[in-house]
Amino acid sequence: MTDPTAAASAGKMETRAQEEITAEGHGARPGGGADDGKQRSLWGDAWVSLRRRPIFIISAVIILFLTVMALFPGLFTSVDPTKADLSLARQTPSADAWFGYDQQGRDIYARVIHGVRASLVVGVLATLGTVLLGSLVGLFAGFYGGWLDAILSRFADVFFGLPFVLGAIVILSTFNPPGTPYGPVRIIFQVIFSIVVLSWPVTMRIMRSAALTAKQQDYVKAARALGASPTRIIFRHLLPNTLAPVLVYGSIALGTYIALEATLSFLGVGLRTPVVSWGVMISDAKELLRIAPHMLLFPAGALAVTVLAFVMLGDAVRDALDPKMR
């Protein structure tokens, strides 16, 4: 469900990337803000325009709040999310339990709070993995070109062609079959692994086309003429100038990875019981939707707010880094 966006935004970002890089190639450009007349880098410029956007501030505040919640769930609730009291099963929200109780009499409020951690860990690590793996492969493919590029590009196509949800189901049924007694850490890493494996081709394509454009620029030729090694050119000259489009993609993808994790958990192949997760909670609630709608409402609401915050942040970052919007 997130893959299509990837496909389209990748194509769009590839052209964006080229524009950005050619703009960058001429070195420092007149400051966008123009209020102080100073020259700023792309990042300084982006930061100035970001701080003025209310949408950025709102989403940053929500994300900060969620991060605190993930790090210190004890600040928000003192109830054990796994403590079950069957006599309280399916009770509706009350002053004791703000979000009510689930089928097994567990406090839904406590479970929603403790569920932030799994979502954020999966989202952040999957984005990190996708950006790192895709960027590295894309940089090498774009810089060296030739047969290396051909092989790496076809290799990426193999993973790109797999339908996302179906591919993740097959991967996770192989490595993470239901009923195996794995601990929470291993289960979470398997989910992250399957997301990274299926989505790195997108960042690879963005990075590759950015590197292809950047290596034609004068500063790369100058570095080569001065005798810089390929490794130095790649990491000191290409990387800083090709990173922006990949980071823009990453910031938008983070939200969609969180939604994807919930989808996989909902299908029963993603996170499962020792891990407290919103997807698992929604999956538990689906059979009882008519009797206890609150069981679905609160985890789904929390999930939507989280994804919304990251997608808004990604939007704001894209607008700030996009030279066309200035």
């Binding site: 299509p4 339908p163 179906l166 097959v170 192989t174 969609t256 789904a300 919304l308 997608v311 066309k324």
Partner: protein
């Protein structure tokens, strides 16, 4: 043009082999004994297991197994399940429903997404623009399975406007609501893509020329602007068909539709690797063919694009 198509088709071969091998490898590595529970309450007799292993080439090395599978596949034979049902039959029973669902979803996202995108892209900042931006944000943020349950509960169970589950033959009419749910996230992306594309081209020279030479508004927008803004949208819609079919698993589960999703889950649970591979192989073919079609459509939309 002909040479371009030929080169693209040649490039598809390694990708196709790579993807199918990857799926074959994963399915082959599915944990568990495929013959557990196949013979009722007792373990399967040695002789039965030996015959089955022989029949399904299970004692060959992986590469040879895959080679034999690919050879059969090229002749249009998807193989058999352990109980002797033809996988081709299973697939031809399940695929039409999923294709119908995905086509309805594609139609919804193309119609609603493009119209919303044109309206906001032309007007610029204002109430309509904000309304579409906010609603697309919400559509993106709410995962399909939540939208699905909301639609099912509100429109199916409480208001009674739609049937909460779809019957066995899954007619076009019944699939409207599930198709809408499946389309919801992509619809938002189509609207945003169209909006940016239109907004970027709105000030292009060719639009100014068209206005200056006195073309009526509907011709400026419908011919000059739309055609030039269509490429990113068409790319998205084309590649989205495969993704919609793969992503239909969730929607199919909610509305109880007998498509490929249920088939894949049943097959994984029963270790029927040939069925899973067959379903995914077909999806990969859909994806690759759609990609090629989209690339060829570029030249129709923008005659400046040449294939060489």
């Amino acid at each position: 043009m002909g040479r371009y198509v030929a080169r693209r088709l040649l490039q598809l071969i390694p990708v196709f082999i790579g993807t199918t091998f990857l799926i074959y490898l994963l399915v082959w590595a599915l944990p568990g004994d495929p013959f557990a529970g196949k013979c009722g309450e007792r373990p399967c007799p040695e002789s039965f297991v030996a015959v089955m292993r022989e029949k399904f080439n299970m004692d060959d090395p992986l590469f040879i197994q895959y080679g034999k599978y690919l050879l059969n596949l090229l002749q249009g034979d998807f193989g058999e399940t352990f109980s002797g049902t033809s996988v081709g039959t299973l697939i031809s029973n399940a695929y039409p429903v999923t294709i119908r669902l995905a086509l309805i979803a594609l139609l919804f996202e193309a119609l609603i997404g493009v119209i919303a995108g044109i309206l906001t892209g032309l007007r610029g900042r204002g109430f309509m623009d904000n309304l579409v931006l906010v609603s697309t944000l919400f559509l993106i943020a709410i995962p399909t399975f939540v939208t699905g349950y909301l639609v099912q509960t509100v429109f199916g169970l409480q208001l009674g406007w739609i049937a909460p589950t779809v019957s066995g033959n899954a007619s076009w009419g019944e699939l409207l609501a599930p198709g809408f749910v499946l389309a919801s996230v992509s619809m938002a992306y189509v609207a945003r893509l169209t909006r940016t594309s239109i907004a970027e081209n709105k000030r292009a020279d060719f639009v100014r020329t068209a206005v200056a030479k006195g073309q009526p508004q509907h011709r400026v927008v419908g011919v000059h602007l739309l055609r030039n803004s269509a490429i990113p949208v068409v790319t998205f819609l084309g590649t989205d068909l495969g993704a919609l079919m793969g992503g239909a698993i969730v929607t199919e589960g909610i509305f109880n539709i007998n498509g490929i999703g249920g088939l894949v889950f049943r097959s994984i649970a029963r270790q029927e690797g040939t069925t899973v591979t067959g379903v995914v192989v077909l999806l990969v073919i859909v994806y690759l063919v759609m990609n090629l079609l989209v690339d060829l459509l570029y030249a129709v939309l923008d005659p400046r694009i040449r294939y060489d």
